[in-house]
């Protein structure tokens, strides 16, 4: 297992949160806490860049859903970018590919 890494920087459309490592039961709460601290204004877009994500289980899905609630509460949007194929498959299984806005692999962030 690899530890979770989260870094974030601001862009013109809103903050970008880059998540790497394992998003599992042990590490998902760290992402939830990080997302809670991101300040959003209405109309902004929070981009969660998953290009370095190694693993994502149901706890990771929960953390992403929490991020979605957080952005909705702030009147902002959430975009998942560079979602690894494996995680995309899981999102499809649980039907969340219809719920999240997902930017395909190599979009600009």
């Amino acid at each position: 297992m690899s530890p979770l890494t989260t870094t974030h920087h601001a862009t013109a459309t809103g903050p970008v949160l880059r998540v790497g490592g394992d998003l599992d039961y042990e590490h998902a709460p760290a992402l939830r806490e990080h997302v809670e601290r991101v300040v959003l204004t209405p109309g902004q877009c929070l981009t969660v860049d998953l290009s370095d994500l190694q693993f994502c289980d149901s706890s990771g899905i929960t953390a992403l859903l929490a991020a979605r609630r957080h952005t909705q509460a702030a009147g902002a949007a959430l975009v998942l970018a560079h979602v690894p194929a494996n995680t995309l498959r899981i999102l499809a299984i649980v039907g969340l590919d219809q719920v999240f806005t997902i930017h395909p692999g190599s979009g600009t962030v």
């Binding site: 297992m1 039961y25 289980d57 149901s58 859903l65 649980v94 039907g95 969340l96 219809q98 719920v99």
Partner: protein, 454 residues
């Protein structure tokens, strides 16, 4: 030769030495009496002091004039000493003629007490009549102080011993309390284990019921050390011709997940009896979970496969129709009698409980003799494999595993998969549930229901 002259004392030299010593050491008997290192006094038989030496006067701080002929020996003593003198000392002295080393206390002019050791002898006349009493007095202050010190030390030692004894008793009581606490903790743990086991039995059935014309098998692995799993399953009759089954996975682990599991299981059972349309049962569960958790600000959800297995009116009685719906759950696998395996597509199903209105659709398939339907949770397909535990087992490997082995019937299938799960070792870090339902190839007269020990 021996030098004998050296060994024989010279009488003349000895006499000279004795005289020199006498002259040097004692001027006179009178001087010796007055300045002796002990007190001397002589009294008449009634105790009146007739003679007293300077040493004793000095100790008592008295003048000779105020003592001689005016004071009795007993008057020089403390009240206690005087009493002892009258009741014991004087009578004994008259009887025995002498007394030695009697401890008394004298009273000095300053009021100080002087502990002394007194010896007295009665001097008799030529006719044997008692004439006077000669008394020596030794200062016993140091000895008394020494005795006091001894007594004090003995008391200290006794107190220390008592304290040590008390500390030992306290330590013993502490040990007993600790032992009792340990016994209590063990009893609590046993009770908690029982409670968890009872709770766990309420989450999944302890044994699957025997369904006429069907065979079923189940396996459940809990990764959590308290054995409260987040996976659930059930298999139960709706009416004479229809049986319901479900299997799923709630988010999270431990007691909170167990509470969600319990709510999910009983909601699905009740929903199935009310309206056994799979999509409707999942919609009911979605409403309940969303209202209970997500709408209340505590998003929790589950994935679930729900199905109804029923007799077909338009076919042989050993052919069954299956209606099945999924809420964000990995697709079920249908293994045909010939060994061909296919995932049962259940499109459109969303995680149960995250959105107020989630779409669920019911898919259909059939179960012919020799066919087996396998439901599983993602503990199986998400198990980490490979030497570094970095790759996931995955759907394709599951499909290949089953196609290779062609297990005949639910029990053989679950046994093979149980072996597979055990081969994952610590790569299996999530709860895993397996539920297989099939129609026996050759219709048996009785059915088997198996619950593999968890």
């Amino acid at each position: 030769m021996c030098r004998r002259t050296d060994e024989e004392p010279d009488p003349g030299t000895d006499r000279a030495t004795d005289a020199a010593f006498s002259a040097l050491l004692e001027d006179s008997p009178e001087e010796l009496y007055e300045q002796a290192p002990c007190g001397y006094l002589s009294t008449l038989m009634d105790g009146t002091v007739a003679k007293i030496n300077a040493t004793l006067l000095n100790w008592l701080g008295l003048d000779r004039e105020t003592v001689i002929g005016r004071t009795r020996f007993a008057d020089l003593l403390t009240v206690g000493g005087k009493l002892y003198h009258e009741t014991h000392f004087a009578p004994l002295l008259r009887m025995q003629g002498q007394l030695r080393g009697i401890a008394l206390e004298m009273r000095a002019a300053s009021g100080d007490r002087l502990p002394v050791l007194v010896s007295s002898t009665v001097k008799h006349g030529s006719g044997g009549e008692p004439l006077l009493i000669r008394t020596t007095v030794f200062d016993a202050s140091d000895r008394r102080a020494y005795e006091s010190e001894l007594l004090r030390r003995r008391k200290e030692a006794e107190r220390a011993r008592a304290e040590a004894e008390q500390a030992r008793a306290e330590a013993e009581r502490e040990r007993e309390r600790a032992e009792q606490a340990l016994r209590q903790a063990e009893a609590d743990r046993a009770r908690l284990t029982d409670a968890i086991a009872a709770l766990q039995r309420s989450l999944v059935p302890s044994a699957l019921p025997a369904a006429p014309g069907l065979e079923s098998a189940v396996y459940y692995h809990t990764a959590s050390p308290d054995r409260l799993g987040g996976d659930f399953y059930d298999f139960f009759p709706i009416d004479e011709d229809r049986w319901a089954f479900f299997l799923g996975d709630v988010c999270g682990k431990g007691p909170a997940a167990a509470a969600l599991t319990s709510l999910t299981r009983y909601t699905l059972r009740a929903a199935a009896l009310h309206d056994p349309e799979p999509a409707h049962a999942l919609a009911t569960l979605n409403t309940v979970l969303h209202e209970q958790y997500t709408a209340a600000g505590d998003p929790r959800y589950c994935t679930a496969v729900f199905g109804i297995i029923e007799a077909r009116a338009d076919a042989a009685p050993d052919h069954r129709r299956i209606r099945i719906a999924s809420g964000g759950h990995p697709p079920a696998l249908l293994i045909r009698a010939g060994g061909k395996a296919d995932f049962v597509p259940t499109p459109g199903g969303l995680l149960v409980g995250i959105l107020p209105d989630a779409p669920f659709t019911t898919a259909h398939t059939t179960l012919a003799p020799g066919d087996t339907l396998l439901l599983y949770t993602d503990g199986l397909t998400e198990a980490r494999t490979g030497p570094t535990r970095t790759s996931l087992f995955g759907d394709d490997a599951l499909h290949a595993f089953i196609t290779d082995r062609r297990p005949a019937g639910p029990q053989e299938l679950v046994t093979a998969l149980t072996g597979l799960l055990q081969s994952f070792g610590d790569g299996l870090d999530d709860d895993t549930a397996l539920l297989a339902i099939g129609v026996p190839e050759t219709q048996p007269t009785t059915t088997t229901a198996t619950n593999t020990p968890r």
